[in-house]
Symmetry: C2
Subunit: 147 residues, 2 copies
Amino acid sequence: MPQKRNAKRRSECPLNVSVEMLGDRWSLLIIRDMMLREFRTYKQFMECYEGIATNILADRLRRLTANGIVTAAPDPRDGRKLNYQLTAKGIGLAPVLTEMVLWAAAHEDTGNQALVQLMRADKKGFLAGVRKGWEERKAEERKSTGS
Amino acid sequence: MPQKRNAKRRSECPLNVSVEMLGDRWSLLIIRDMMLREFRTYKQFMECYEGIATNILADRLRRLTANGIVTAAPDPRDGRKLNYQLTAKGIGLAPVLTEMVLWAAAHEDTGNQALVQLMRADKKGFLAGVRKGWEERKAEERKSTGS
DNA sequence: CATATTACTTGTTAAATGCAAGTGAAAAAT
DNA sequence: ATTTTTCACTTGCATTTAACAAGTAATATG
């Protein structure tokens, strides 16, 4: 990995590197939707985010993959499709995203109030559910890929 | 303010608008440092972030102010200085930042492990401390500005 | 009153993003 | 079997945003 100009400062304080990974208009949304809406394919992201450019989506997925937040595997049932999945590191962002959604809900008028209520009422349970869903999807993938 | 192309999608799901506010390389770092390192002035940010451009810093502070995350008030003791402060909305981001720091610390090697330990060991207490510090600073400001 | 600080602004250049069109491989339809 | 679709992209170009260097206005300090 090549050192950048500001390498010295990078790890001086926690967050600097993370913000390099996540500090853009799309990455967090992509992660949110993989986590909460079970998005897996390029097409799903593309159709959902009005405004994202196709090359940018490709680039963000590549970067998330390079940063170990996401993996990509071809769909065993359809060779055209690539299934994107969160890694353990990626699902580890669930508390961050949850707090962010709660903050957002407190200060913007957002949709999906049901989800927000659930997060507020039982944050721990919600996070456990998110992780469970993720583990199920991973298990499913392992099965279909052939153990 | 002109409506943007993707205005329709903006509030459909929580987070979209927030990511518009915070989804860039600097905003979250600025907020972190106002929260955790008590940064107040333009100069402090400028000296700390190797790599930030002066016009971009000015723009980010302006945007954070416009979004109600930060306020700016002239220093009563030095008319050149502007003191930036987090608003209630801004300090509301403390849980987000905290989770982000914890995530970052788990996946990068970061400095300030003492802080990280504290966050991990007693998250609630840590957050209470952050809020208390913020309230003290606000009280102080009220006093010096003249009640 | 000269010099220094602070918080910027104003160009200009470089990089990132947005947009339209196109590509190649695999699947579905005819 | 071959044409048409679908999917996951890439490529080229226009536009926007960010980085860098320099300058400015309003204090403050010596």
